[in-house]
Subunit: 111 residues, 2 copies
């Protein structure tokens, strides 16, 4: 609480380890749990659920449950979540443009 600088509020919402990645996927299309897991091969079930819960609590992500067997749950961005789009777009664009540079630098850091 009582942020020293407003951008800390932004970080509170999108600062989780996987949140930006999840939202970047959901910005393109809504997804069910199993789809998210498939397109994010390295995330664990636990982290996926945990991050989605937090996004949901923050009002960024909507969770639609279909009452059927087997269960089906679809996640999508809320209107509030869409307000983050400029940030997500900028982050995605930067990543696409600089990915080779970053990969090189990070590789050297491992040594």
């Amino acid at each position: 609480m009582a942020y020293n600088i407003p951008v800390e509020a932004t970080l509170d919402v999108i600062g989780g380890k996987w949140k930006v990645v999840i939202m970047c996927h959901l910005i393109k299309e809504e997804r069910r749990t199993s789809e998210l897991k498939k397109i994010m091969p390295t995330i664990t079930q636990k982290m996926l659920t945990q991050q989605l819960r937090e996004l949901e609590q923050d009002g960024v992500v909507n969770r639609k449950i279909f009452d059927q067997v087997p269960p089906k749950v679809i996640y999508s961005l809320t209107k509030y979540g869409w307000s983050l789009r400029p940030i997500l777009d900028a982050m995605c664009a930067w990543g696409e443009h600089h990915i080779e540079t970053v990969e090189d630098v990070e590789k050297n850091r491992e040594v």
Copy 2:
């Protein structure tokens, strides 16, 4: 390495706990270490140095050392660091616009 989605490269560079906050300050003006510590009251010396070192290794931040006693070091964004400006601006703007909402939500989460 080998990101599953390009935005992960972005997160590798700005994903640290304090990196965005530091860069948001440096985007306004270059700062010396003691100034950064002053405007970020809750960061520890250790974390400040650590995050700055990583930003420096990633080529985002420049470290200018004045050879004098007592020591003086000034940090600023590199040209490469300035390429992140659209992201930082978007994050700062969103935070300013939604800070009350976020503060309320986060407060309730603590309960």
